[in-house]
Symmetry: C2
Subunit: 202 residues, 2 copies
C-alpha cells in the first residue's frame, strides 16, 4: 500500500483515478479544499510546496486538474492563453519540480493531458498545445529524476461520466468508462514504467 | 516571388533559412534590429503587432528565434521556465495569432522547434517541452486559420554551422548542413502543406 495524493479527487477524472487506486492509502487535495483533506492551487508554487510539507511522507502524486480556457484561436486572448499555460502546463511541471524534493524514494508522478492534442476539435487549441507540452515534458524529464522517481502522463479520451458536459463538442468521439482511465492511473502508480504517455482511447 | 519576413536572419538558423529562401523578396527582423530591416521582440505582443504594421503587405513569416534557458531540471527556476515559455512558446504562438490579422491570403507561418523534444539530452528540458508544445500547436491550429493561411514547424537537428557551440553537449548527434534546414523552410513557404512538423535529421 502506497500513500497517494490525488489532486482533484472530487472531479470526474479524479473519481476515475480514485476508482483505480482504492487499494492505496489515499490523501485528497483540491482547489477549494471542500470535502478534501487539503487545499492546493497548482498555479502557485507556494501552495504546492505547502501541500507537500503538510502531507509529509508520500509515494505518489496523481494530478487530475488544470484550468483550461476554450475559445476559437482567433478569439483567444493572451490572458486566456496564460491562464491555461500557468495552470495546466506550468502547474503540472511545478508539481514534479517541487514534489521531487519531498516524494519518497521510488515515488511517482502521474499527470493529466488529453486526447485533443492528437484529435483536434474547435475551441481546444490551448488544451491541445499544453497537453502536447506535458506529454513531451514527461518523455524527456523521466531521465532526470533522482532516487528512482518516475513520471508518466495519462492522455485519455472523454469519459462516459463527462459525456453530458463535453459530448456536444466532441462529435465522433467514443467515450470510455472512467474505470478504464482509473486503470491507466493504477498502471502508472503501481508499475515500473516511466517517461510514458499512457493513451486511453476507444 | 513572395514577400517573406525572416525573424533572426543573422543567426545560424536564420542564415540556414535564408539559404533556402533567396529567391524571394526578403525582409529581415531581429531582436536588436542591428543589420536588419526591422527590430522585433517576439516576447512582446505590441512589438509583434508593430512589426506587421510597419512591413505592410507580406506572404510569409519565418521565425528562427526564441529565448531558451538551459539547466538541469532540478536546478531550473520558475523564472527560467517562464523566460523560455514566454519567448519560444508564447512568442511563436503570438506571431501566428497576431500575424493572421495582417498576412496576405494564402500566406504561411514557419516556426522553429528542435530535435531535443524527441532525442532528449541533459540541460534541455525547457527547450524540449516548448518544442513539443509548438509542434502540437502547429498540427492543431492549422485547421483554424482563415483565408488559406498555412502553418508548419521546422524541427531540425543541430546544423554543422552551430556544431562549435552545441557539439560538446550533443554527443552522438549527427549535424546536418544548414542548407538542408533551408530546404525545409522553403518547403514550408513554397509548398501547400500545413499543420506539418518538418523534421530535419541525419
Amino acid at each position: 500500500m502506497k500513500k497517494v495524493i490525488i489532486i482533484g479527487a472530487s472531479g470526474k477524472i479524479g473519481q476515475a483515478a480514485l476508482s483505480g487506486l482504492g487499494h492505496h492509502d489515499i490523501v485528497t487535495a483540491s482547489g477549494s479544499g471542500k470535502g478534501a483533506d487539503y487545499q492546493v492551487d497548482i498555479g502557485s508554487e507556494e501552495s504546492i510546496r505547502e501541500l507537500f510539507k503538510q502531507v509529509g511522507s508520500f509515494d505518489a502524486v496523481v494530478n487530475t486538474v488544470g484550468i483550461c480556457e476554450y475559445a476559437d484561436f482567433s478569439d483567444m486572448t493572451e490572458q486566456q492563453w496564460m491562464t491555461t499555460v500557468l495552470s495546466k502546463m506550468m502547474g503540472q511541471i511545478n508539481l514534479v519540480r517541487i514534489g521531487q524534493e519531498y516524494i519518497n524514494d521510488g515515488g511517482s508522478f502521474s499527470l493529466i493531458t488529453g486526447i485533443l492534442s492528437s484529435k483536434p476539435i474547435p475551441m481546444a487549441i490551448a488544451d491541445a498545445t499544453t497537453s502536447g507540452a506535458i506529454d513531451t515534458f514527461v518523455k524527456c524529464v523521466a531521465y532526470e529524476l533522482p532516487r528512482r522517481i518516475r513520471v508518466n502522463s495519462i492522455n485519455p479520451t472523454v469519459i462516459e461520466e463527462a459525456w453530458g458536459v463535453y459530448g456536444e463538442m466532441m462529435s465522433g468521439f467514443q467515450p470510455v468508462p472512467g474505470s478504464l482511465v482509473g486503470k491507466a492511473f493504477a498502471r502508472s502508480v503501481d508499475g515500473f514504467i516511466t517517461g510514458e504517455v499512457i493513451t486511453v482511447d476507444a
